[in-house]
C-alpha cells in the first residue's frame, strides 16, 4: 500500500464559500458548501492548533471570500498563535483600512489580492461585480503596512491580448510579487472553458511578454507564472502529489487533498468534527487513495516522470476522461490525450474575443452573457 508520508507542509483553509464576486473562472466546486454548515471560530482554532503540531508552516486563507467571515481577525490570530505563517487570498471586498489594520495587528503575514483585468469595465464583467476601483484603493492601503503583498492575475482568452498593459497596471500597485495564473479548468471554469481557453498564439505571446517583464522587473517585482497544462507536454504536479504536502479543510470541515477532490466518485472525506487532522493525514482512505505509485496504470506506472508529476491531476482525469485512476489527459503520453487535443483545436478555430458588457445589475449581466458563460453564484 502507500508509503508512510512525511508531515504536511501547508493548510488551505477554505473558510467560507460565500463570495461577493461571481468570477466566471472560479475553481470552487459548483456544489458549494452551505453557509449554515460552516465551522465555528472554535472549530477553526482547533484546526490551526492541530496544523501547527503536525509541522505545517503556512495557513492559506481562501474561500469564497474569507472576509465574509466576521471572525476572520480572530481566525488569523489563532493561526498565527499556532505558529503558522498566515496568507489571506482575497478579492478585498469587505476590507477597509480599519479592518486591514486589525488583521495586520492580529498577525497577518501576507495578503494576495486578485485583479480580473487592468480595465475597469472588463474586470467588472469577469467578476460579475463592481469591484475593480475598490481593489485599487485597497492596494494603496496595503502598502502602508509591513506585510507581503501579492497581486493575483488570472489570465484567459478574454484578457490575454492586453497582458502587457495588465502587468504595467500591476506594477503601479507596487506588490513584491505577482502571480500570473492561467485559468485552471475545474468547477465553474470547466463549465465556461470554451469562453476562457486561450489560443496558441495568445499563449506564445504571453510567454514572451512574461519573460521580458521578468528581466525588466528583476529585484523589484517577482513574477510567478506557469504554462497552462492543456498546452503543456506533461501534466502539472498537482498539489505536489496527492496527500504529500497539503491538506485542505473546506467550509463545512471536510478535509480534502485538493480543491476539487469532492467531485471524485467513490471517495468519502473525513470531517474535522469527527477525526483529528493527524489521523486523517496518516490513516484515512481518502488521503491514502492516490498517495505514492501503487494506484498507477500504464503509461504512468513505468514512466520516468512519475515521481515528478505523479501522473498529473486525479480530478482532471475524472472530469475529462471519467476515470480518476488514468493518466491526466493533459499529458501527451496519456491514452485519452485526444480529449485535450480536441478542446485545444476548438479553442484555436476562431479568435473569438467578446466585448465586455456593462450593466447596472448582476441579473442583467447574467442575462446578457448567458450564451457565453455562467457566473458563479452563491451557496444557500
Amino acid at each position: 500500500m502507500a508509503q508512510s508520508p512525511s508531515n504536511p507542509l501547508a493548510l488551505i483553509a477554505e473558510v467560507t464559500h460565500r463570495c461577493p464576486l461571481h468570477c466566471v473562472y472560479c475553481s470552487n466546486p459548483m456544489q458549494l458548501a452551505e453557509s449554515k454548515s460552516e465551522l465555528s471560530t472554535d472549530e477553526w482554532t482547533s484546526v490551526f492548533e492541530q496544523s501547527g503540531k503536525l509541522g505545517m508552516l503556512h495557513a492559506h486563507f481562501t474561500g469564497g471570500e474569507p472576509l465574509a467571515r466576521p471572525d476572520l481577525t480572530e481566525l488569523i490570530a489563532a493561526a498565527r498563535a499556532a505558529g503558522l505563517y498566515t496568507n489571506l487570498i482575497t478579492s478585498g471586498i469587505g476590507l477597509n483600512e480599519q479592518r486591514l489594520k486589525a488583521l495586520v495587528d492580529a498577525g497577518l503575514d501576507h495578503i494576495q489580492i486578485s485583479f480580473q483585468d487592468s480595465r475597469e469595465d472588463a474586470a467588472n464583467w469577469i467578476a460579475g461585480a463592481k469591484a475593480h476601483a475598490h481593489k485599487i484603493d485597497l492596494s494603496r492601503a496595503i502598502r502602508s503596512h509591513k506585510i507581503a503583498f501579492t497581486v493575483n492575475l488570472v489570465v484567459h482568452r478574454q484578457n490575454l491580448d492586453h497582458l502587457e498593459e495588465m502587468i504595467a497596471f500591476i506594477e503601479q500597485l507596487h506588490p513584491e510579487r505577482v502571480e500570473i495564473a492561467h485559468t485552471q479548468y475545474y468547477g465553474w471554469a470547466l463549465a465556461n472553458r470554451a469562453a476562457l481557453m486561450p489560443t496558441r498564439a495568445q499563449l506564445d505571446n504571453a510567454i514572451a511578454i512574461i519573460a521580458a517583464a521578468e528581466t525588466r522587473l528583476a529585484g523589484k517585482m517577482r513574477i510567478d507564472s506557469v504554462v497552462p497544462d492543456y498546452y503543456a507536454k506533461y501534466p502539472k504536479s498537482c498539489m505536489g502529489g496527492w496527500g504529500q504536502r497539503l491538506m485542505l479543510v473546506n467550509p463545512s470541515g471536510r478535509v480534502l487533498p485538493c480543491h476539487a477532490a469532492e467531485v471524485l466518485p467513490g471517495l468519502s472525506f473525513e470531517n474535522v468534527r469527527d477525526k483529528t487532522l493527524d489521523w486523517i493525514w496518516q490513516e484515512s482512505d481518502s488521503f491514502r487513495r492516490f498517495r505514492g505509485e501503487a494506484w498507477m496504470h500504464e503509461p504512468c506506472r513505468t514512466c520516468d516522470r512519475r515521481t515528478e508529476d505523479f501522473g498529473g491531476c486525479r480530478c482532471q482525469a475524472f472530469l475529462l476522461a471519467g476515470d480518476a485512476t488514468v493518466t491526466d489527459p493533459t499529458c501527451s503520453l496519456a491514452p485519452t490525450h485526444h480529449l485535450v487535443e480536441l478542446a485545444v483545436r476548438e479553442a484555436n478555430k476562431t479568435s473569438a474575443f467578446h466585448q465586455p458588457t456593462t450593466s447596472s445589475s448582476f441579473v442583467q449581466l447574467q442575462k446578457a452573457n448567458s450564451d457565453l458563460w455562467q457566473y458563479r453564484t452563491n451557496p444557500e
Partner: protein
Amino acid sequence: MAAPTDASQPRLAAGCRWGPSTKAGTEEVRTILFPEGAIKLQGTGKLVLEHCDGQRTFGEIIAELQKEFGKTDPEKIRADISLFLEQLQKKRIVDY
C-alpha cells in the same frame, strides 16, 4: 536592482520572518518563512541572515564575517555573501 553596496542595510523583506527551529545533530537549523515557501538555514547562510537586521550595513556585516572566518580569503567572503543576498533579493526575501 544590483548587488548590495557597503552602505546597504540588508534585512528580511516585508512578510518574511524567522519561523520554527529544529536540530540537525547538535547544530540549530532555522527556518525563514515567506509567501508560498520556506527555506531552512544552517551554518554560514544562517549566520549571514542573522546579521541582516536592517541596522548593520553590508560593509559592517562583511567585516564581522571576515573576522569570523579569518582563514578564508576576505574577497571571496565578500563575493559569496554579496551573491547570496542578491539572489535572495530577487526572490523578494531580502531587501537592502
